[in-house]
Subunit: 462 residues, 2 copies
């Protein structure tokens, strides 16, 4: 504990210099999607490699067919110490519309909001330069005090996260042995609120399917054929309407295989949190929970699988009216998965269900649009438990274990390609305006984020 | 009977001259939709008025804002004799693609198909110049033999039927007293087959509705919101799927009010005819009757109401996939009506049904697309009975009473604006290629059509 206390004090003392280093990094216009900014991306990568080397990392800029990766290794206290892979990205989103920025997107500064909050402004101040430097600065405080880190650390900084990560999978594949660690630490998520840190333990998976129902071999006049000829839109409507029962559960056979109930304590925590998200639906003009009955908002979004119809078309959809019976109708359907649901099994059972609803003289074609399983960090995993305690020690309120309704591809890639779980911890706030004008990062997020990583590293070492 | 026999003989003797008059009329390029042919339309109208005058009609070409009408009156045997209004149209469809015509579309001729069939070729030979002249030539035969017609006759020849009849309703309204008769005779339909004449006694009505379901006030990401936010495509699917029960009946409240069972003898006749339409579905790639169970094909098409979904759209329908929950989804729905179904009552009950299925935080908007009741000539109407017997006397097989699944606007207009039922009798065959290259009319259709109208006039006089 004394060890950690002095590291935390050192982080406090370093803060002004830490902010100055973040300013330096934000000033580099590393917009990955615009070729005009290619050199800035490399500059950011070089800056990071140089900084890592100064901290004792064996670090290098590694070329890809796109923007380079930065990889660094720090030996830690011993060869058999726990080993973590820290992931972040140095590239940023474009700044348009530039006229909406109150300050220059690449001219970062500290602004005092006058309500006790100070913020760091600039593109990437939060996403993800500020977030990734919380870890680097935590390493620095450790190094400053103890001359070494409490765990073995590999860092991987990507420069293409904001433009689809085209080089990531090939890079992981080519460097799997070098990058594999006991677990990954990913700092690209947010807090629950300004006082409450959060660990994201679950990400939903996805199965996408397109179905095309064909009835007659041409469009028919509904006066001549209506009442006798099959109508593919009507068939499709029955198919889609049958995907949920009256309680909102998905009816596809075996759909809930691999779905476990969320532990009671987590569920209870989410139920109490739901009150704090009253406006979640209100902000988009809704007020009633759709989906499965008797589940809280957060359980529905984070821990329950869904079936959604993402698009539908058939027949005449222009202005006015046409008394046509279409030849074809189609829909795009996706399933969000949780736990151990098997994407391919679900795809197969969905297709069997749809096929069973198609009249003998009609046909159905399926197009596959992606499939990936859910990510679920075990709620009793030691890494999660240690990180949760460490975060709870740092912040005013205990850390929450939350989920994300969508997916973060890197987490699946670490799982599938490196066989490694990810601990998702970040200090962004919902008002950080990431991807928008006037992006900011709270100074407190940055400062206590640094202290949080110091605590987590200490906990993982123990 | 002797009277009628001599008229029929006269029609036989006149046939060559009758065909020559049809050739004259077909040679006039009265394409109504193309302004370049405006003068030909007037020429056709003048030709008809002149011919009617020669038959003792008080006839005139009547201007409209579009192509002119031709109206003629013949006094009949006495002022209190039965009075019929005969309707036909002298305008024709364009001839494109001209290169597919074996003979010139405006260069009519008689061709011997070598299997006992002779045909009259040319645009309008069937639709509707040949058909309308069957009546005119029947009048001529009567006039030739008896110097007068057996009933009072008003004729109305329109020049805009192939281009939406924009002038018809104003003309009927302005001349209602002049045009009103005991019933209308409309010659723009077909035979059941080459040996079997048909009277069309029912036309289905139509109610069109567009429904637009709105959930959130913007499109949502299905990862962030899926499982908690209402999905308008899912809501719409449930609405549409609920429109039919498992037996194919429409579930809208009161939908079958005003629908009467078709008389057993008519139903039995249709059931035996259904066998002759085995290919009806096969020709469009289908093989199973959709719609209400335990009804024959022809009953479904002619005498049962339907609900069809004519179009649907919502969310992402382009290439690939987008994990979106749409803000809106919409569908176009139409109902075909029979008997005394009330279009506005059905619209109201449909809207109430849809509204009842919309969650409290979502909304639905309705757009109205037309509404017209069905047309049903009473199966025991004296006009129908007399015409049926007259046709049965002329042709190898007894006349059938059939229906049409769609609507013919003129029939509704006569009903609504002039309070007059229509007897739909025509001699077209399914291989006449109306609206297509190589339109033809069987010489037998023309010849026996003339004789048929002579018989029908005689029967109506009795």
């Amino acid at each position: 504990m004394t060890d950690l206390s002095s590291v935390l004090s050192r982080a406090d003392q370093n803060l002004d210099a830490s902010v100055e280093r973040l300013f330096e990094l934000v000033r580099i216009k590393s917009i990955s999607t615009d070729p005009a900014f290619k050199a800035y991306c490399r500059e950011a990568a070089e800056w990071l490699a140089t900084d890592l080397k100064a901290l004792g990392f064996e670090a290098s800029v590694r070329d890809t067919t796109g923007h380079p990766m930065v990889v660094g290794h720090h030996p830690g206290p011993s060869p058999d110490a726990p080993h973590v892979l820290f992931y972040g990205h140095y590239d940023v989103q474009p700044v348009d519309p530039i006229e909406l920025w109150e300050d220059g997107p690449f001219d970062p500064r500290i602004k005092d909001l006058g309500n006790g909050r100070k913020i760091i402004t600039g593109r990437g101040s939060s996403d993800d330069k500020g977030q990734l430097l919380t870890f680097v600065e935590a390493c620095r405080a450790y190094k400053d005090v103890h001359g070494k880190l409490p765990v073995r650390v590999t860092v991987l900084f990507e420069g293409e996260e904001e433009s689809g990560s085209p080089s990531l999978k090939p890079f992981l594949e080519a460097n799997a042995a070098e990058l594999k660690a006991d677990c990954a630490l990913v700092c690209d998520t947010g807090m629950w609120d300004a006082d409450t840190p959060a660990i994201t333990a679950s990400l939903r998976g996805l199965v996408g399917e397109e179905i095309i129902v064909t009835a007659a071999n041409r469009d028919l006049h509904s006066g001549m054929y209506g009442g006798a000829a099959a109508n593919p839109i009507q068939i499709l409507s029955k198919v889609l309407a049958g995907l949920h029962d009256e309680t909102g559960r998905v009816t596809v056979e075996g759909f809930y295989d691999g779905v476990e109930e969320t532990p009671a304590n987590i569920k209870a925590a989410w139920e109490s949190l739901t009150a704090g998200r009253n406006d979640f639906l209100g902000e988009v003009g809704l007020s009633e929970l759709a989906g499965e009955r008797d589940r809280s908002l957060l359980e529905l979004l984070w821990a329950r699988p869904t079936c959604e119809i993402n698009g539908i078309s058939g027949g005449y959809a222009g202005q006015g009216f046409k008394t046509v019976i279409a030849s074809k109708a189609s829909a795009k359907v996706s399933f969000r998965l949780v736990g151990n649901q098997d994407p391919e099994k679900i795809r197969e059972n969905f297709r069997a269900y749809v096929t069973s609803k198609i009249p003998a003289d009609c046909s159905v074609e399926f197009l596959q649009h992606g499939g990936s399983p859910a990510i679920q960090l075990a709620y009793d995993s030691p890494v999660l438990t240690k990180a949760k305690d460490a975060l709870s020690d740092e912040w005013p309120k205990p850390a929450l274990v939350i989920g994300i309704g969508g997916s973060i591809p890197i987490v699946g890639d670490f799982q599938n390609m490196l066989g490694m779980e990810s601990l998702l911890v970040g200090f962004g706030l919902s008002d950080d305006r990431v991807h928008s004008p006037n992006e900011k990062y709270d100074l407190k997020s940055f400062h206590k984020g640094i202290r949080s990583w110091a605590r987590i590293m200490a906990a993982l070492a123990g």
